[in-house]
């Protein structure tokens, strides 16, 4: 039963990460800055001119934006992969526990 709960929690966390990724724009790479382009009418030149600024804005990506350990974890695929592995392992362990209740009990008691 505990294995099933662990498996369900891992899948829920994975779902939460995927939803967060989709709401943050579904970027391929994790980004930490956003380009803001402000267009204004320039009266002297009689044309539209642009001001480009970069502001801090974290957006989760499918793949890591950097190569440090921290950056690698801040993406969908790496923590998502770990969560899938945990869910599969917990599901498998739960199924084995149901098939062999004695072994399961022995392992649990140990």
């Amino acid at each position: 039963m505990k294995w099933n709960i662990l498996s369900a929690v891992a899948l829920l966390l994975l779902l939460a990460i995927l939803v967060a990724w989709m709401f943050q724009g579904g970027e391929i790479y994790t980004k930490d800055k956003r380009q803001i382009i402000t267009k204004t009418k320039d009266e002297i030149f009689g044309t539209e001119t642009e001001k480009v600024e970069w502001v801090d804005d974290f957006r989760l990506g499918l793949l890591p934006g950097g190569d440090s350990i921290g950056s690698v974890l801040l993406c969908v695929t790496v923590p998502g992969g770990i969560l899938v592995a945990v869910a599969v392992a917990a599901f498998t362990a739960g199924r084995q526990a149901r098939r062999n209740p004695i072994i399961s009990k022995t392992l649990t008691s140990k």
Partner: protein
Amino acid sequence: MKKNIINGKIVFFMIFSALFVWPAAFDASIANVRVKIAINGKKNITLNNKVGDNIVKFVSSAPLEEIRGSADGISGSFTLDFDNLKVSHGTISVEVASMQTGVSTRNRHLFSDEWLDARRYPKLVFQLNSLENMQIIRDDNAVFEIKADAVGIFSMHGESKEIKAPVTIKYVKESPATKQRADGDFVMITGKFKVALKDFKIKGAGGFIGKKVGEVIDVELTLFGSTAQQ
């Protein structure tokens, strides 16, 4: 017989005008663009952020991602010769370290020796050598605007290549309105060109080019300057 002589004269006139008169007139119209605006001689223009935000934007389109970036560390000066705009010349440079792509780690990679090698080649430089294919868009008492091809040498990553960038140059004479921003006559230049990374021997890290970074980078620039000495 007389008719043949007349026909011969007409044919001779047509061939003569085709060979000498029309090309000369055409050449004069593009090579010696004479402007109505009351400006004469050479004008030295220095880029100035008080006139407007100097910015270079670049876009890399690759199957895995489109990278949009910009650079604002732009400086330089150039000379527009209103007696012969064709011989306009100057130098514009962009600091590699001012380039921003939206991902801090990617910026560091961009500056590294596998990409632009900012330590050895800290600037991208465009040396304007001439203006070609000029076309006057506006020419009145206060504003002069042309479209032209800026021909010059673009240097990046220690490599140099001649490029031809279509630009629009707008020259605005000093007025009470311009004086509120900065002294001197104002100039605004907009232009677009493409940079093929292989032309500048940029190989990048393991197979990135073509997958995560485009082989050709689209560059768009907006420059502002004034004739005032800074």
